[in-house]
Symmetry: C2
Subunit: 392 residues, 2 copies
C-alpha cells in the first residue's frame, strides 16, 4: 500500500499546535503567569438561549417515536435551508433552498469541495491566509500560487490578468488580516473568474462582523458571481457554534463547468461521503434566524466587537500600527520594533503574558505581523489592554 | 477550471435514490397501497433515554459560560474515547485512546480515510457490497477489483494469494448479505494483508448485532491485525444514531507504511479538513456505554433481531432461500422463481406493497438477490410477514 506522498509536502506542524506547545512550555517554566489566550480564534460566550432551547427540544424529540429522526437529507433539512434562503434576502440575494447545502462547518466544506475539482488545477490563495486553504490543496498535489496581500493594497489584493488561476480563494472579512473587500474589489475578482472560467471559493465565515454598510456580506451581491462562485458560511463565529458544528455552502444553479452543474457534483460527493448534519444541531442553527436568536447573536457579536474597540484604542494610543478590528473579530498588528512574528510571540507572552497568533503562520507576507482576537472575555480584554498600555 | 473527471465514471444514480423514485412512482399510481418500507437500512426506534438525557444536559451546558465548549480536540473528547477503549476490553482488545478518532459517522470516515492513500493503489472490494466503498474510490480514480462473495463461500470470500491488492474492504457482519466472518476467516485476510503490505479497512458498523459467540466483534481480536487494519464503527445501528451522527475509527499505533504511522496521517487529514464532532452529540454517544444506556440499546437491538426472526420464519416456511438475519439486521434472500433483483422489486411492491432493496444495487453478484431489514416496527414486520405468507 502506498501512502499519499503529498502528505510529505505538508509543513510538519499546524500553526495552532505550535502555539499550544510553546504556550505549554512557557507555563511550565512560569507556572504563576496569568496567561490570557488570544491566540486561537475561538469564541468564549455561551450559546444563545434560543439555540440551547431548540436543541433541548430537539433532543427530546429524538427520544419519542413519533418525532424521532433517522437519516436526513444529505443537503440538510428544508427548515434550515429555508431560514438561510430568507436571511440572504436581507442582502437582496436570491438563493434557492436547492442551492444550499448544510454541513458540520465551513472548514469541512472548504476541504471537501476539492474532491469535485481535478488535481491539476492551479489554485490561487492570498498570502497571508487561513492555513487550511493551502494544506488541503497540497494534500491533493495541486499547484498553489499566491496573490500578495500587503499594506499597500490594504490586504485586499486585486486580480492580475496576466496570471492564470483555476480555483481562487477569497476570505472576506479576512482571517487573519481583518480586511474586507468592498463591492468594486469583489467585482474585479468576479470579472476575472468569469473571463478565465475559474471558480471562486468565497469564505464568508466572518460576515456577521461586518459594520460598514458598503461591505458586501455575500459574494452573490456582486453581479456575475453566480456563474463563478461558491460561498462557504459558518455558524461558528456568527452564533458561537465552534463546538456545536454547523455551516452551509451555497452552490448556484448557474455555476456550470464542462457541461456539469457544480452543485450536482457537490451533492454527489456529499451523498457518498457524508450523511448529513445532526438533526439536533440543525434545529439549533435554525434558532439563530428567529427574532429571539437574531437579537441574542447581535448582543454577542457586539460584545466581541467592543473588545476589538478596546484593543484598537490601546494600539492607536501606543502608536502601534494595526489593521482590521472593524468588520472582523481580528486585529492584525505590525510587530513593533521590526520584530519577526515568532520573536514577538515570545516577547509578548513573556512581557504581557498574552498569547497571540504569529502572522508568519499564515504565509510569507504575514511575517512581521501578529493576530489578536476580540473573542476573549471583556474582563481579560481589559486586563490585556492594560498590560499592553503599561508594558509595550 | 477542470472538474474531477472521475465523477463521470460514477454510475448516474445512487441505489437508494432509485428505490425512492420507483416507490414514489408506484404510490402515485396506487395512492391507497399500504406501503411498508424495508428498503433503506434506517432505524425506527427512538433514541435511548440515556442518550436523550445526556444531550439535553449537554445542550444546557452549552448555554452556560462555565460549561460552554468551543473547539474540541480534532480526535474527539477524551471522555468518549475512554468509554470506547473500555468497551473494547470486553472483547479482550486493548486500544489506547490515542488510537481512537471520533467522527460524524463511519460513512464519512470510510470515504475520507482515502485521502491518506495514493490514488494508484489497487482496491479490493467484495461483491456484493455497500456501494460507497466503490464510489469513493472511483471518485479518486483508483482501480477497483472485486472478490466474489457468493453462496458457495457463504458470502465470506477468502483471499486469493495470486491476486495483488493494496487496500482491502471487509464489512462483517456484512451489508447487504448479513454474513459474518469467523476468526479463521478473518485471520486469513490479516495474514494476506501483512504479507502483501496491504491495509484492511474493516467496517464493523453492525457488530452490535452479532449473536454467535465465535464471531469476532472487532478485527483487532485477530492476531496480527494491528499491523494491517483500520476499524470503522458507528453508533447509527448500535444506538439508533442515523440522524444523530457519531462514529469512530481505530488506527493502531503499530500500523506503519513507508515509515509513517497511518494514525498520524489520519489526524493530519482530520485536523485540516474536519473540526470535530459536536460536544452535545459526543455526550449522547458517551451515554451509550453507561449501564443504563447498554441496557436500553440491548432492548432495541433485541427488538430488531426479533423482527429478523419473524421474517426468517416466514421465508423458511415458504421455502424461499435466505441468508443473514442472525448476526445482522439484514436478510438476504434469493429472489424466488429465478427473478432478477429489480424484477423482484417491482413484483414485491405490487404483490405485497413492501419496498426492499434490489441486491444488484450492491454489485454483480447481488443480481437475483434482495435485501430486507429488521429495522421496521414490530407491527409492520408482522403485517409484512403475513402478506409474504399469503401472497408469495
Amino acid at each position: 500500500m502506498k501512502i499519499n506522498s503529498n502528505f510529505n509536502n505538508l509543513q510538519e506542524s499546524y500553526l495552532f499546535f505550535n502555539i499550544a506547545k510553546k504556550t505549554k512550555e512557557f507555563i511550565e517554566k512560569n507556572p504563576a503567569a496569568p496567561i490570557i489566550r488570544m491566540g486561537i480564534g475561538d469564541v468564549t460566550l455561551p450559546l444563545p438561549a434560543a439555540c440551547v432551547n431548540a436543541m433541548e427540544k430537539a433532543s427530546v424529540e429524538m427520544g419519542v417515536k413519533e418525532t424521532f429522526k433517522g437519516y436526513g437529507e444529505y443537503e440538510g433539512f428544508a427548515f434550515l435551508r429555508q431560514a438561510i434562503s430568507d436571511y440572504y434576502k436581507e442582502y437582496n440575494v436570491i438563493v434557492g433552498i436547492d442551492e444550499i447545502f448544510i454541513s458540520d462547518g465551513a472548514k469541512s466544506d472548504l476541504g471537501n469541495i476539492l474532491d469535485i475539482f481535478d488535481d491539476d488545477n492551479i489554485v490561487m490563495v492570498p498570502d497571508p491566509v487561513y492555513p487550511v486553504y493551502v494544506d488541503t490543496n497540497i494534500m491533493a498535489g495541486r499547484k498553489v500560487i499566491f496573490s500578495d496581500a500587503n499594506e499597500s493594497n490594504g490586504f485586499t489584493p486585486a486580480p492580475d490578468k496576466s496570471v492564470k488561476a483555476d480555483i481562487i480563494y477569497i476570505c472576506s472579512p479576512n482571517n487573519p488580516t481583518g480586511a474586507a473587500y468592498d463591492k468594486a474589489g469583489l467585482k474585479a475578482w468576479v470579472d476575472y473568474a468569469n473571463e478565465q472560467g475559474a471558480v471562486i471559493l468565497f469564505d464568508a465565515a466572518y460576515e456577521a462582523f461586518i459594520s460598514d454598510k458598503e461591505i458586501p456580506h455575500s459574494i452573490f451581491e456582486i453581479e456575475g458571481a453566480k456563474t463563478c462562485a461558491i460561498e462557504f458560511c459558518s455558524f461558528s463565529k456568527t452564533a458561537g457554534f465552534t463546538g456545536t458544528r454547523c455551516g452551509y455552502t451555497v452552490v448556484p444553479k448557474e455555476l456550470v463547468r464542462e457541461g456539469r452543474k457544480l452543485g450536482d457534483l457537490w451533492l454527489r460527493r456529499q451523498s457518498t461521503k457524508y450523511n448529513g448534519t445532526p438533526y439536533i444541531i440543525q434545529r439549533g442553527a435554525e434558532a439563530v434566524f428567529t427574532s429571539e436568536g437574531r437579537q441574542q447573536i447581535k448582543e454577542n457579536i457586539d460584545y466581541y466587537k467592543q473588545n476589538c474597540v478596546i484593543l484598537s484604542e490601546v494600539f492607536a494610543e501606543k502608536g502601534i500600527k494595526f489593521f482590521g478590528g472593524k468588520n472582523s473579530p481580528y486585529i492584525w498588528l505590525k510587530c513593533p520594533g521590526g520584530m519577526k512574528s515568532w520573536e514577538f510571540f515570545d516577547f509578548f507572552i513573556s512581557k504581557c503574558n498574552i498569547v497571540g497568533t504569529p502572522g508568519s503562520g499564515f504565509g510569507n507576507n504575514g511575517e512581521g505581523y501578529f493576530r489578536l482576537t476580540g473573542f476573549g472575555s471583556r474582563e481579560n480584554t481589559l486586563i490585556a489592554a492594560d498590560r499592553i498600555k503599561k508594558t509595550l
